[in-house]
């Protein structure tokens, strides 16, 4: 019954998406108001049904219902419950259902809550949202039905890839999907505004929390994914420029640009077409990511659900939505005025500069990711990796970081650089001092040195906008910006420090042997077999100590899962304020002179590596603060309005306080 309820709910949702789309379209006609009234309820009920369908699948995985094909091929009754549940989205169909559920849920949310937009724009937005959702329902129901039954129930499931049997799976994909899908709402809003030619500051204010929210989740998702890969793959790498990683980075870059441009539109009524373009671009990138991951056209570590037929379907959807919206953009954008003007040395000027830089970085990542696809069309295989992405990205990232430090100090519309001379010289002095210091310390490559210098300067610069302002009365959204910019500085510091200062030690050790890395003493005490619910492992008992401190005993494992059979390395991390010790035990490596077995032990000391993910968390926190700040301001404004109806004389005073768009 579970599967049937889920499937029925999914079909009903699809039908409601049709209704939403049609009634949204009616809303654009002068006489369509009666039909248009159905759009909102359709979206809300649809959200409920999609969530129901997803819960059914979750339930099927929880009880390991082996008569369902998806459960039988991806789960196993002996798996711990948490991985059974997380395994729901550890496969193509389940993750697609999660995607669609989030899409329907956010569609329902916007239909329920959003009352500020003109009715026509709202109708168009809901129509577009229904249209997008319909495509994904069709994809699920026609080519990737998660509820398909087996003619004969399986005796046992074939299990989940052990690399996915980790708490990371519980967080990383859902956050990323919420981010991707949140962007689809921004896209629907942008299309709604473009179709009804209502690209106004009011529209920007409606769009902003969605962009912010999606961006926060994308940031969290990427941060979680990076940390997961870092500890799970067992070699200490945190970013590989893998096609699928790039697929999550590209929407983030576009969303970051969009976030800033939508703020300019809201505050200053400038950058109208640019904002719409970025809205389309951000959604294109998240669709492109879906396509790259699931079609298998590119080689990636995340090779899952490789199926050309599905690829064709997604490519069709891509053509429909992205091609369609770009066509509308090409036809309509000319009739949207650019909005207000500003000079180069102004807040807007800096924001435009950085928007262009972000887009350029996006272009580089896109080029490097898709280039192998292009050459394979001519039967030539090439690899594009870190030695390409790092320098090519840095060409645009470095100017961006510099302007990012200075931009928030500038005034809107027009400013004189002379006014912030003091700040500029402080920042320049910091950069020069750090470069000199690091160059003095040792022989490092240029990019990490520049990264460190810019990180420190940016870390200081992030707080400079607070100078001379009353901290108690500063809007929460401005605090959000400060925290987020500081987070970028922190993350950058971690990345640069990790690439410059990491120490590595590979050793073949017998029990009793010890080795040293970067001031840490690492002693192998013994190696013992251990067993888990669905794996066996050799666990090393290793004592690690820095300097004279008391040793910490850790137990990295070399695991062998038996369904499906696959070895994994379970690394152990010892975290300190100034970095992490990363210990992995590998295979047995012969015997020493006394006949004792020796084991491969890999140890890294990575100074400040944790800052990468702390930075990511700070960036997300900044985003959350900005959302709360905006929502509070909005609520205050609404309350002021209601009050104002009763006491008209208070209106001016109250709304004067709340109305000015906080600068950021």
């Amino acid at each position: 019954m579970i599967a049937e309820i889920g499937l029925a709910a999914l079909w009903l949702s699809a039908a409601l998406a049709v209704l939403q789309m049609v009634s949204g379209a009616f809303g654009l006609r002068a006489d369509g108001a009666q039909m248009a009234a159905y759009a909102r309820p359709a979206a809300v009920v649809q959200a409920f049904l999609a969530v129901l369908a997803f819960c059914m699948l979750l339930w099927a995985f929880a009880i390991t219902d082996l008569s369902i094909k998806l459960v039988a091929t991806n789960s196993h009754s002996m798996k711990p419950l948490i991985f059974k549940l997380a395994g729901t989205w550890g496969n193509h169909e389940g993750s697609m259902l999660l995607w669609v559920t989030v899409l329907a849920f956010s569609g329902g949310l916007i239909a329920l809550l959003e009352r500020r937009l003109p009715e026509k724009t709202m109708s168009a937005t809901l129509g577009v949202q229904g249209f997008v959702a319909l495509g994904f329902y069709a994809f699920l129901l026609l080519s990737s039905n998660p509820f398909e039954r087996l003619p004969v129930p399986a005796v046992e499931g074939s299990g989940l890839n052990p690399l996915l049997q980790d708490i990371g799976l519980a967080f990383h994909p859902p956050t990323l999907y919420i981010g991707y899908v949140g962007i689809s709402v921004a896209f629907s809003l942008a299309m709604g505004a473009l179709i009804t030619r209502q690209v106004t500051p009011d529209f920007a204010k409606v769009m902003r929390p969605w962009v912010l929210g999606a961006w926060v989740f994308l940031t969290l998702g990427i941060t979680a994914g990076s940390y997961w890969a870092y500890y799970e793959l067992g070699w200490g790498g945190w970013w590989f420029w893998d096609p699928v990683e790039n697929a999550s980075l590209m929407p983030w870059l576009a969303a970051t640009a969009l976030l800033h441009s939508v703020s300019v539109l809201a505050a200053r009524d400038a950058l109208r077409t640019w904002t719409i373009m970025l809205g389309v671009l951000a959604f294109s990138m998240s669709m492109l990511g879906t396509f790259l991951v699931r079609s298998g056209v590119l080689t990636s570590v995340h090779a899952f659900a490789v199926d050309p037929e599905r690829g064709t379907f997604i490519l069709g959807l891509l053509g429909l939505y992205i091609g369609g919206s770009l066509l509308i953009f090409a036809l309509r954008a000319g009739s949207i005025a650019e909005g207000k003007r500003f000079t180069a040395t102004s807040r807007e000027g800096a924001l435009v500069f950085n928007n262009v830089m972000l887009s350029a970085i996006l272009a580089i990542v896109l080029l490097g990711t898709l280039y192998p696809l292009l050459t394979e069309a001519f039967d030539v295989r090439v690899s594009v990796g870190p030695p390409y992405f790092n320098p090519a990205g840095a060409i645009f990232a470095i100017p961006m970081l510099i302007v990012m430090a200075i931009g928030p100090l500038l005034r809107w519309k027009s400013d004189k650089p002379a006014r912030i001379q003091l700040e500029l010289s402080i920042l320049a002095a910091i950069v020069i001092a750090v470069v000199a210091l690091v160059a003095f310390l040792g022989d490092y490559s240029i990019l990490p040195i520049l990264g460190l210098a810019l990180a420190v300067a940016l870390g200081v610069a992030a707080f400079l906008p607070l100078r001379g302002r009353n901290l108690m009365r500063l809007p929460l959204a401005t605090w959000g910006m400060v925290v987020a910019h500081f987070g970028i500085a922190v993350a950058l510091f971690g990345m640069a420090s990790e690439s410059a200062f990491t120490s590595e030690k590979l050793a073949a050790m017998a029990p009793g042997d010890s080795t040293e890395v970067a001031g840490w003493n690492v002693e192998l005490l013994g190696v013992e077999p251990v067993a888990g619910p669905n794996w066996t492992a050799m666990e090393g008992r290793i004592a690690v100590a820095r300097g004279d401190e008391a040793p910490t005993i850790i137990g990295p494992q070399a695991r062998n899962f038996w369904s499906p059979p696959q070895p994994t390395s379970e690394s152990t991390l010892v975290t300190r304020l100034d970095g992490q010790l990363y210990v992995v035990i590998g295979d047995q490596a012969g015997f020493d002179e006394n006949g004792a077995a020796r084991w491969q032990v890999r140890v890294w000391w990575k100074p400040f590596v944790t800052f990468i993910w702390y930075g990511g968390l700070l960036v997300s926190l900044g985003g959350v603060m900005a959302i709360i700040g905006r929502l509070l301001a909005d609520l205050r404004r609404r309350r002021a309005k209601t009050k104002g109806d009763e006491r008209r004389e208070d209106v001016a005073a109250l709304s004067d306080e709340a109305m000015p768009e906080p600068a950021e």
Binding site: S295, G319, G323, A333, G334, L370, E376, D379, R381
Partner: protein
């Protein structure tokens, strides 16, 4: 002017969609082909993989007629599948020189006893050195080497029924 610019994103997207659509219809290249075809076999010497059979070095490929170089291993499952087809090639009078990768003598012995021995000599390559020299990326792979010691053809994966004729043809061409 402006209007023309707004078409650029659409044009770029259509280019991508065309490319992606084309690639979806193509069989994905899974292998990394060697770039050493039509190049002389590099100098190498490999110790015998088991007692009673000679090892392999480059000079074993020079003179006489073209030969096959078969890179295999006793732990490799497709190698079992290709054993009968190698046997057929041997019956056709082809000299097959084997290289066992990361293998133990007793395992090699056992494999040959079980699935037959089509080889005239077997070298042992414990560190993939020959594989890297000839541009092989996995086991099994089979190379056609002409009598001057030049690599003429590479077959990636196991030798199948239909591959036998292809290899015979390539050996003929290498005369």
């Amino acid at each position: 002017m402006n209007r023309a610019l707004y078409i650029i994103p659409l044009a770029l997207f259509l280019f991508f969609a065309g490319l992606a659509g084309y690639m979806l219809t193509q069989n994905k290249i899974q292998n990394v082909p060697s770039q050493m075809i039509e190049q002389p076999l590099p100098e190498f010497t490999l110790a015998p993989a088991l007692e009673g059979m000679p090892g392999v070095s480059k000079s074993d490929f020079v003179g006489g007629k073209p030969r096959l170089l078969n890179i295999w291993a006793s732990w490799c499952l497709p190698c079992i599948a290709e054993a009968p087809h190698l046997e057929r090639l041997k019956e056709e009078g082809v000299e097959i020189i084997g290289v066992a990768v990361r293998d133990r003598p007793e395992a090699v012995q056992d494999f040959l006893a079980r699935y037959g021995n089509p080889y005239t000599r077997i070298g042992s390559d414990d560190i993939s050195s020959l594989m890297l020299e000839v541009g092989a990326s996995g086991v099994p792979e089979t190379y056609v080497i002409d009598a001057q010691g030049n690599i003429r053809y590479q077959h990636i994966g196991d030798v199948r029924e239909e591959t036998v004729d292809l290899l015979l043809e390539k050996l003929e061409e290498a005369q």
